[in-house]
């Protein structure tokens, strides 16, 4: 039954897309984010639906899309270079079969990120893409949120509709994504045009979704989620009109909600400080040390899945308090083939220094560009481009959240994040186009002529706020 519903949904989407070809791009975004193949039982998981959607999206852009202002930005070139470099390391990978499997989805993620900005040439397209990403991800987030409310969740036990919790369904990754999209949902509450504002139904859905997003780190008990939430909170202080009031309200809300949190959640969050007693955290540090040493011997990386060759051992301290005495037990734990547990070390181990430098430059450049766009447009009137500043700021917050979450989770090629990078590039190009049009003045001609030349062109038409 669910299979037929998914197929019917996609067919309706394709039917819409025949009139509005951009919807093919959105259908790929939906398939890549939610991965409905993994939620189906019979029919859907046999069809390469992701490849079909990408093919349709690319073909529609190639044949009917507006390519008049198609230009590769520096970050698109960098992602292309990273794609080529990853292909090279896959050819000489230490584990060729496993590396080829990972390469099978990494290339799609990178190619789509390079392609995406070409299609996002209007405000509505950027908004639609971000909304499709969020609503697709919210299928998982709402399930997780309701189950957390009902059962309280649990580490590794919160059922997010799939048995194999890889990709976006992995607990730390979905926690990071859930927290990262909060600023973008806030953006829709202020500037959304797909659903005209103010509308109480839009507000209700957005606030309920934000609540579900906050519940995800509690339900999955992923510590990454808590750290990401703290980062978003601190970054939000920067834009708050009354930061002290905001801080006080958050503190009161935090204190009130503390007794309502599951005990297992508070116990697990407590291990952030006491990392030596926690095997998960100690394993990470041991793997990172191994990766650092591996990179010294293999500066060009060991290819995808290089972690499989690691052999680590570490001392775990277990402290037990009995009355006034504290008993410390030290045990040596030996382990092998442990994952990187950090995107930074994942890049360093798999792609070596060149791959790591390319990857980090792509992300840091994104933060810097969004900061520039934010500052350039923040003083504008609501009808004169303030939305650009707010969208840049929301994307920047989401990106910082990813970079902080990446410290503890291996998600260097998470496609959801590369789509955010694609929107960032599109916002940057759009903002530059507006500034170019505003700064252009004809050398000759009277005032009337100047006004005529300064007529709104593409991207300058005031939009409903």
């Amino acid at each position: 039954m669910r299979d037929f519903a998914f197929i019917g949904f996609l067919l309706v989407l394709f039917w819409f897309a025949l009139r509005r070809p951009f919807l093919f791009v959105l259908s790929y975004v939906y398939v890549d984010t939610l991965q409905p193949q993994r939620l189906s039982y019979l029919l859907f998981n046999k069809v390469p639906v992701s490849l079909i959607c990408f093919g349709l999206a690319f073909a529609s852009w190639l044949f009917v899309g507006d390519k008049s202002e198609t230009k590769m930005s520096p970050r698109q070139w960098m992602m292309t270079a990273l794609l080529c470099y990853c292909w090279m390391t896959t050819q000489s990978a230490d584990f060729p079969t496993e590396a080829a499997l990972k390469w099978g989805w990494v290339w799609k993620s990178l190619i789509f990120a390079v392609f995406l900005p070409f299609t996002l040439n209007t405000r509505l397209r950027m908004e639609a893409l971000a909304m499709f990403m969020i609503v697709s991800a919210s299928s998982i987030i709402i399930v997780g949120g309701i189950k957390t409310l009902v059962t309280g969740g649990g580490y590794g036990s919160l059922n997010l509709m799939v048995t194999n919790n890889s990709g976006i369904y992995e607990s730390s990754t979905i926690s990071m994504v859930a927290i990262a999209i909060i600023p973008i949902i806030m953006f829709f509450l202020k500037h959304g045009t797909i659903f005209p504002l103010p509308d109480w139904r839009v507000k209700l859905f957005c606030y309920a979704l934000i609540f579900a997003c906050i519940l995800i780190p509690i339900g999955t008990q992923a510590r990454t989620g808590l750290i990401c939430a703290a980062v978003i909170f601190v970054m939000s202080l920067r834009h708050a009109k009354r930061p002290f009031l905001f801080l006080s309200l958050a503190l009161v809300l935090g204190l009130v909600s503390l007794p309502l949190l599951p005990k297992s959640f508070t116990a697990r969050m407590g291990t952030i400080n006491n990392y030596q007693a926690d095997s998960s955290a100690s394993t990470r540090i041991a793997v990172w040390k191994w990766t650092w040493a591996f990179a010294q011997d293999h500066p060009f990386g060991g290819g995808f899945e290089a972690y499989r060759q690691n052999k680590i051992h570490y001392e775990a301290k277990n402290t037990t308090e009995t009355g006034s005495s504290v008993d410390v037990q030290q045990t040596t734990i030996v382990d092998a083939g442990r994952a990187f547990h950090s995107s930074y070390f994942e890049m360093l181990g798999e792609q070596g220094y060149p791959g790591f430098l390319l990857w980090i430059t792509i992300h840091l450049l994104g933060l810097w560009r969004m900061e520039k766009v934010y500052r350039r447009f923040k003083m504008r009137a609501p009808k004169d481009g303030l939305w650009i500043s707010d969208l840049a700021s929301a994307l920047q917050k989401a990106h910082v959240c990813y970079l902080i979450g990446s410290l503890f989770v291996g998600m260097a090629f998470q496609s959801f994040v590369y789509m955010l990078v694609g929107i960032q590039i599109a916002v940057d190009v759009y903002a530059s186009r507006i500034l170019d049009q505003e700064s252009w003045r004809p050398m000759r001609g009277g005032t009337a002529k100047v006004e005529q030349w300064n007529k709104p062109k593409r991207g300058l038409t005031p939009q409903p706020e």
């Binding site: 669910r2 519903a5 949904f9 309706v12 989407l13 819409f16 009139r19 509005r20 951009f22 919807l23 959105l26 939906y30 939620l39 507006d66 209007t122 405000r123 509505l124 397209r125 639609a128 909304m131 499709f132 609503v135 697709s136 919210s138 299928s139 709402i142 399930v143 309701i146 189950k147 009902v150 509709m161 797909i194 659903f195 859905f205 709104p456 062109k457 593409r458 991207g459 300058l460 038409t461 939009q463």
Partner: protein
């Protein structure tokens, strides 16, 4: 039950978004010329 409810809600919303985009001309062109027939190119001298 929760899974189906959530999937139904979000997929319904996605269709609603697609429907709203379907009727928006500024999806493809912000100049306001979308949907208007392009003027026929005139031949030289006429």
């Amino acid at each position: 039950m929760i899974d189906t409810l959530s999937l139904a809600l979000t997929h319904g919303l996605l269709l609603l978004i697609a429907w709203r985009l379907f009727s928006r001309d500024d999806l493809d062109d912000e100049t306001g010329n979308a949907g208007k027939p392009k003027p026929k190119p005139r031949r030289w001298g006429r």
